[in-house]
């Protein structure tokens, strides 16, 4: 065999391989329109009215994610932390950061066809802005000004609940987002037996019974300024238990599910796609004011030294959480590593010995109220009690778990019978200052915002947070990321690390119509979708 022949043959093989590979890659990366993304959530209640969202609550995160389907903000952050224009195309501020001006995008229409007006922006944002910040319109511009500097206003507006919506005369909300709510349906899991079609997004739905679910259907907004999303619809099923979500994901009944931390390892063992965010949920203990100041400080210190956060995060939560020593996570504040929480049982016992014998003793134990739903909070509460017992501090866990939505983690009412409160806090703002002050205000653990000032300087924020921790009202425990299970069909899943979904970019790698697999239907062929599409009030 001549060298030329061999060289020619090798070249031919190489060309063929490259051609095949290029074809395959092109085929794999080609975005497709169509399909319904099946989303399952554990929450039994959602609200699409930003005015009703409670900061820090677990429901806030879900509401925000679903709200982002329907509404747009003035500005947004991309996954690299860069501000991107949304409804505002330009923005500027004065040197003191006291006056911000936003130029609204032209020719933006709400999903009902109404054009976006500055009045809509004013009506939507004014109730959401904190006291002292005023919003006004000037032509195509919107101005936000305040007596105090607002250096992090963009971060504030790019996250949380600062969505722009159109308030209809009947009180319903309409958005400019890539989707709009086409209806709800209630029924048993996997099927529906009744439906209500809604064209508006001021939706507050809840699962009426434990064994029944609620379906929310979001349809693609063909007229959105950002271009039609790839998905035809997003169908959200509420009230699905965590294990059921995982099973549905495995069975192909769901494309996107929430994964509770205890199921993450299992999902990964089952080769499911699991995405995790940065730590976005904070768990901590809040002390009430019932104890004397001096004794409370010692008790806080003894409790803090007795807590084994490493074991909580790495063993109990199977490394799906991180020990927390600060109120804000490292990714948000940048200085969290400066805080440390030591575990020293012997020292905790010594401090305990200096406390009154009847404090946190057998006849009068510390009552740790755990009213968060789910096994995770219960487990953490029990671990706190077990740790505290090592330091001769008797803690009685009072489980008063309430269903999702019935109570929020930010409840500040203190149970007179309890001394401790296990709470969770979902970070919702990209501004550490705003987040810290929201936490302080909601949990009532420190001075007010006015007293603390509005500086975004990391050093001042660190000092502020350090002061808060030294006031010994809160004990950080762990921070948890958000875990999402994804089916193999979901493409271009590129959420922000802090948990914002970008479902407008997601598309489904559906099989060709002729090769559709039984039971894997993603399009509007689901019973709920069929029902919704035939409902009188459903939008086309």
């Amino acid at each position: 065999m001549s060298p030329w022949y061999v060289a020619t043959k090798r070249l031919a093989r190489t060309v063929l391989f490259c051609t095949t590979l290029a074809s395959a890659l092109e085929c794999a990366e080609r975005q497709r329109y169509g399909g319904t993304l099946q989303v399952e959530l554990h929450a039994e209640t959602v609200s699409l009215d930003p005015r009703e969202w409670k900061l820090g609550s677990a429901e806030f995160a879900i509401n925000e994610k679903l709200g982002a389907l329907v509404f747009d903000r003035l500005v947004a952050l991309d996954n690299y932390g860069r501000f991107q224009p949304q409804l505002a195309t330009e923005w500027s501020h004065d040197t003191a950061f006291k006056r911000w001006q936003f130029t609204l995008r032209a020719n933006v229409k709400f999903s009902d066809g109404t054009a976006l007006a500055d009045a809509d922006v004013l009506a939507a944002l004014q109730p959401l802005l904190p006291d002292g910040q005023e919003i006004s319109a000037s032509g195509n511009n919107v101005v936000i000004q305040s007596a105090a500097a607002m250096p992090d206003l963009l971060e504030e507006l790019a996250s949380g609940r600062f969505f722009v919506y159109h308030l209809e005369p009947d009180g319903t909300l309409t958005g400019t987002g890539p989707f709009f709510v086409s209806g709800t349906a209630m029924g048993s899991h996997g099927s529906s037996n009744s439906a209500t079609a809604l064209g508006d997004s001021n939706l507050a739905v809840s699962t009426p019974e434990g064994n029944r679910t609620t379906h929310l259907r979001f349809r693609a907004n063909e007229e959105t300024w950002s271009g039609r999303p790839f998905l035809d619809a997003v169908e959200v099923t509420l009230g699905v238990p965590p294990l059921r979500q995982l099973l549905d994901l495995q069975l192909g009944k769901a494309d996107l599910v929430e994964l509770s931390p205890e199921l993450v390892r299992r999902a990964r063992q089952d080769n499911q796609r699991v995405w995790s965010s940065a730590p976005v949920t904070f768990y901590g203990l809040r002390f009430d004011d019932a104890q004397p100041v001096a004794a409370a400080a010692k008790l806080w210190e003894a409790m803090s030294l007795s807590l084994d956060r490493q074991t909580m995060a790495n063993v109990l939560l199977q490394k799906q959480a991180e020990p927390a020593s600060a109120l804000l996570p490292q990714w948000l504040s940048g200085y969290a590593f400066l805080f440390t929480m030591e575990t020293n049982i012997d020292r905790a016992r010594e401090i305990r010995a200096t406390l009154p014998p009847n404090m946190a003793a057998g006849t009068d134990p510390l009552r740790l109220r755990v009213d968060l739903p789910g096994d995770l909070a219960k487990l953490l509460g029990e671990r706190v009690a077990v740790n505290a017992r090592q330091a001769a501090i008797l803690v009685q866990v009072v489980n008063r778990a309430v269903p999702h939505g019935a109570a929020t983690a930010t409840a500040t009412s203190s149970d007179p019978a309890s001394s401790l409160h296990l709470f969770s806090w979902h970070y919702s703002s990209l501004s550490p200052r705003v987040e810290l002050e929201s936490m302080v205000s909601a949990l009532n653990i420190g001075d007010s915002l006015a007293a603390a000032g509005s500086s975004t300087d990391p050093e001042q924020l660190y000092a502020r947070e350090k002061k808060l921790l030294e006031e010994r009202r809160v004990l950080p425990l762990v921070v948890l990321p958000e875990y999402i299970g994804l089916s193999q069909n979901v493409r271009d899943w590129m959420p922000a690390p802090w948990g914002q979904w970008h479902l407008a970019e997601v598309w489904l790698d559906l099989p060709e119509p002729g090769s559709a697999q039984p039971g894997k239907s993603k399009a509007t062929a689901t019973p709920v979708a069929q029902l919704l599409t035939t409902s009188p009030g459903a939008k086309p």
């Binding site: 074991t311 487990l379 029990e382 866990v397």
Partner: protein, 620 residues
Amino acid sequence: MSFRTKLLLVVLLTIFASVSVVAYAVTHYTQAAFEAMDAERTEALVAQFKKEFIQRGEEIAHQAKNIAEANFTERMAIDLSRRNADQSLYVRDAVGSAQEHGLDYVEFVNYDGVLISSAQFPARVGYKNDWVTSVKDWNDTPAFLKKEELPDGVSLSLSVVRTNNTVADKSLYIIGGHRLDKNFLASLVLPTGMRALIYTNLEPTFVPASLMAEKIDAEQAERFAPLVEQLQKQPQAVVRTIDWTRDPADAETFHAIPLPGRNNELLGIFFVGSSRKELVLLTRQILKMAAAVAAAALLIGLLVSFWVSARITKPVEELSEGAREVAGGRWDTRIDVHGSDEIGQLAEAFNHMTQTLAAQKERLVQTERVAAWRELARRLAHELRNPLFPMQITVENLQKARKLGAKQFLEVFHESTATLKAELANLNTIVARFSDFSKMPAPQFVRVNVNEALRNAVRLFEPQFNEVGKPTITPELFLTEPLPEIDADPDLLHRAFQNLVLNALDAMPAGGTLTLRTSEQDGNVRIEVADTGKGLTPEECSRLFTPYYTTKLQGTGLGLAIVQSVVSDHQATISVTSDEGRGTAFRIDFPQRQAGPRATPRETAPESKSTPPTLAAASD
């Protein structure tokens, strides 16, 4: 109480006692039988409990062994034996094992004692359980009671430890257990009237909520506190009865059996409760029947004993009646003799006695009659001789005077006739006295004031108290006022008082004091008449009321006989006391009322009706 009543009572008491003894015996033996049966049932239940205990333990041991020998456990043991093994991988495995093998509690403990996974208390993961590693191989160890720490407290479990020895020297321990709760109790087959309870002794003091039973409230649970505390001090089987209410039928007898743990610490108490309702109801039934039988027996006994006692006591009553008749003077009384038993013999003896008494009385009457006639003859002879002798002398003088001259004869004649007339008068007086005594009238009762009657009687003798030429007699009256009136015949009473006063005057020839005293004694009216004379001898006292007996030269011996006759007619009693040389006192006790027709109040004073008795009528 009559003999018949006594006999009746004795018979009834005997019947009642007999029935009571029988009822007590039946109740006692019933209770004993019930207690024995209860003990047998309790023993059977305890045996069943132990059997169930062992069987459950074997089931748990079987499941724990299955877990220990499962592939994933072997993989876990191998993985954990490695250096820097990730223990968090197995944190939730115990939950799955517990669900898969139907156990309430499952825990995995590493070779170093660290808790790897816990189904019941996941928050404890990472802590040491050194007691598990103290035994190298648990595979032959039976189930034992264990105090189980749970997030919401403590519970009692029946647990087993099994060892996975896949990796030498680095064993993995599996603790499996079942909660000892109401479900365990529900598995016991209980006889009617029995129940089982378990107290989980996991707290230093009694906790009512730790008492597990199918149905028990806190108030009832509190009643177990003394029993539990007793076993906490001394863990040994105890039996105690708890009265839930005042009704004994609601009481329950509890056998408390201590349940020790692996180190013989008291972890639980098994109670077997046996209702006493059955026993109490049975006892009540027996007592009711006994009461009914006793009532019937008493009724029958009453009738029979009444008849029997009537038969028995009739001869006795006849005997008693006969004795009373004899005492009443019917010495010839006879009673019927029934049978030849002791009562019949007694009746014969009684008849014989009365016959003998009647004969002796007859003889005595004859003798007394002869003696009386003799005494009467003597008195008559004495009384008649006194006037007859002067008459005889007078007649003889008159015969001698016939030889005298006419004048002298006439003088003697007149003197003799005068003497004869006087003596004839005396004779007449003597005859009148006897006539009066023989003609004592029947009393006519009216209401009489005794004090007044006494005063009238004394008033008659006032001239004699200070009679010139005679020693003075001083009357002293101590009359109680007011004094109840009595039913009496005023004339007879006056006559008796008159004789008593006269008798006292005669007893004081040298003067003295006559004392009259009235008083009320025991419902009677007492009259006492005392003198300060020379007194009487006992022999004189005993014969004082005998007719015609007198100690005086001029007495007829009828005065005190009349007094006694009056006293007798008034159902009164008279007694005499005398101290020789100091005087004599008579006491008469009159009843206030006389039997028969009621006396009418006296309308007139005694003196208006009665004529002052002559001294002859008040003769001595």
